[in-house]
């Protein structure tokens, strides 16, 4: 392998890590729902992509600056998050995790169908911010827009951690996830807390969806399923419930993807990512930042 190949390899890995920032953003929401709330919501990625699609409605006929579209996507995400809570979790008794799993699957199918019906299945161009900013670092080029996504991810992480550990809502959420009955007895409203948390994770998801659309350049209905799988992988590798873990895992997965692709080509790339995950699960099931051991 000569120098040119080596440069290409490092550049590839760097590109992968940067694109992993989008997985990281999605992973944050996933890990919150799965790790903190202990709810399996398989429709999360679809809802995020759906929120990004919804934000495109803002652009019909009018030229709107990209940041406004992103904010609108986040708001739509919040709204969809509330819908997810009411439709999938509110009315199903807590003792039926399988039922909520299946209901989120139903919602995933529904959201996908709504997107396909509204857009007739075609790819839609998505506005991007800083898409032409390329930061040159020696022989390497780094995508400015992806660094922005990474920065946004870090900011979200800080905001969410503050929310979880410094506010009453965060306290209520953590209490509910650890001991729901006791939390109720303390006067915490199950409904309100859950609904608010879903809205917040929805906002994060909407932003993630917008960032993914901006990073790829187009939105396509093909995105939901692969993103769901990636989000799950990132959550598991990062550790259920750990937000910094989700970010690091997102970057890792992005980097490894490109690493495998460089050596083994695109047909075998995903195979190795799956094997990587399997290895992780066998040797370090708690993920990178395993949550504090307690009653399961």
């Amino acid at each position: 392998m000569d120098l040119l190949d080596l440069i290409d390899l490092v550049q590839s890995i760097a590109d992968g890590i940067l694109f992993g920032a989008t997985y990281a953003m999605l992973g944050i929401g996933f890990t919150l729902i799965f790790g903190v709330m202990h709810k399996i919501n398989l429709s999360y990625a679809a809802a995020s992509v759906g929120a990004a699609y919804a934000s495109l409605l803002l652009m019909t006929g009018v030229s709107v600056p990209a940041p406004v579209v992103f904010v609108f996507a986040a708001l739509c995400g919040g709204a969809i998050g509330l819908v997810v809570y009411v439709v999938c979790f509110r009315f199903i008794p807590r003792a039926n995790p399988l039922a909520t799993l299946m209901s989120t699957v139903g919602l995933l199918l529904l959201i996908d169908e709504v997107i396909v019906h509204a857009t007739d299945g075609g790819a839609k161009s998505y506005p991007a911010l800083f898409s032409d900013v390329i930061i040159a670092a020696g022989a390497f080029n780094l995508r400015g827009d992806l660094m922005f996504v990474f920065a946004l991810g870090c900011v979200s992480m800080v905001v969410l951690l503050l929310l979880l550990y410094r506010t009453r809502l965060g306290l209520a959420t953590r209490a509910m996830s650890q001991q729901p009955l006791a939390a109720q007895l303390c006067g915490i409203s199950v409904d309100r807390t859950n609904a608010l948390t879903f809205v917040i994770t929805g906002v994060v998801g909407g932003m993630a969806g917008a960032m993914i659309g901006a990073a790829i350049g187009v939105l396509s209905p093909l995105l939901s399923l692969p993103l769901t799988v990636k989000g799950l992988i990132v959550t598991v590798i990062g550790g259920l419930g750990s937000i910094p873990g989700a970010i690091i895992a997102g970057l890792l997965v992005g980097g490894f993807e490109n690493f495998f692709q460089f050596f083994r080509g695109v047909s075998e790339r995903d195979l190795y990512v799956m094997l990587l995950l399997f290895v992780f699960l066998v040797f370090r099931p708690g993920g990178l930042f395993a949550p504090a051991a307690g009653r399961d």
């Binding site: 039926n96 699957v105 799950l232 799956m274 399997f278």
Partner: protein, 309 residues
């Protein structure tokens, strides 16, 4: 008539897929890997009948056994984790199998045509049924013989100690372990049985669609596999059958007259079903109620309903 027989075939094969997930769900594990075992069964059976010119039943048998063997091998590492982690681990495994077949190329020349799996293009011309003069009725009867045998086997197992042990592990692992049950052995056995059933289903699937490719065995199929038992209820095997009839018969074919709305209703009705009947269409209460309809069932159903809840 052919149309209804075709539907019966589809319902049969999907019931096998659902039952393979049902087995594993009984032990409280959600396995998204059944589509992977289904794929293994499909490719193995297809290759045996097309490339090695085997008869159908031995080919299916080997397909089932191979899928079961892989399930057993996977079971040990996978079942070390629980809950969401298991979902992800099995998704990863299912995808790994699919990607394996995406890259799998094994062609044998027959005259001037090359037959066999051809990577991304799939495995075409698995024409055992038409070439050996099987009519649609023959195939439907064959599929349902397999299904009935599997259902009978599972029903019998449910009534025996094995079923009780499985469900005990599913209900409360700690208690089961305290009672002296070897959790790992039980879970891996359930996974293996599920793998065998999925392999049988996959082998049949390959033969009645005549063409298989990796895309068919992805996350969507895996989701359907667990959807059937969850939607149908885990009380007994008929729940899964009912769910398959509901989804394939009603949602897919019955709602055709709704045109475009059918697909929107698909997700919507699953949502509704889960909200209205969280324990499945045929949950313990429904089974008890059905029992009361039969003579002599009243006393039994009373005790069962109380016990099952």
């Amino acid at each position: 008539m052919d149309f209804y027989l075709g539907m019966i075939q589809i319902i049969g094969v999907h019931t096998l897929l659902g039952l393979s997930a049902y087995c594993v769900l009984l032990t409280g594990q959600v396995s998204m890997a059944q589509a992977g075992f289904f794929a293994i069964g499909a490719y193995v059976a297809g290759m045996l009948t097309v490339l090695a010119q085997w008869a159908l039943i031995p080919a299916l048998g080997v397909a089932g056994l191979m899928a079961g063997a892989v399930a057993c091998a996977i079971g040990f590492p996978a079942l070390r984790v629980k809950g969401l982690m298991l979902v992800v681990a099995t998704v990863a495994f299912g995808e790994a199998v699919r990607l394996f077949f995406f890259n799998f190329d094994y062609q044998v020349a027959r005259g001037e045509i090359k037959m066999g799996p051809h990577g991304g293009e799939g495995f075409r011309q698995i024409r055992y049924f038409p070439e050996h003069g099987w009519s649609t009725l023959d195939v439907a009867l064959f599929v349902w013989t397999v299904v009935v045998l599997v259902m009978a086997g599972l029903w019998w197992m449910d009534r025996s100690r094995a079923g009780a042990v499985l469900r005990a592990v599913g209900e409360d692992e700690l208690a089961a372990q305290s009672a002296g049950i070897n959790i790992t052995a039980v879970k891996v056995s359930a996974m293996t049985v599920g793998g065998v059933i999925a392999g049988l289903g996959g082998g049949t699937f390959a033969h009645y669609t005549t063409h298989i490719e990796h895309i068919q065995f992805g996350v969507v199929l895996a989701t359907f596999a667990i959807a059937y038992p969850i939607l149908g209820g885990l009380s007994n095997v008929f729940g899964t059958l009912l769910a398959v009839i509901f989804i394939q018969g009603f949602l897919v074919e019955g709602l055709r007259f709704l045109g475009d709305w059918r697909n929107l209703l698909f997700g919507g009705l699953i949502l509704l079903a889960m909200n209205l009947r969280p324990r499945g269409l045929l949950d313990a209460k429904a089974v008890a109620a059905l029992r009361r309809l039969f003579p002599g069932g009243k006393e039994r159903s009373g005790a069962q309903a109380h016990g099952a809840q």
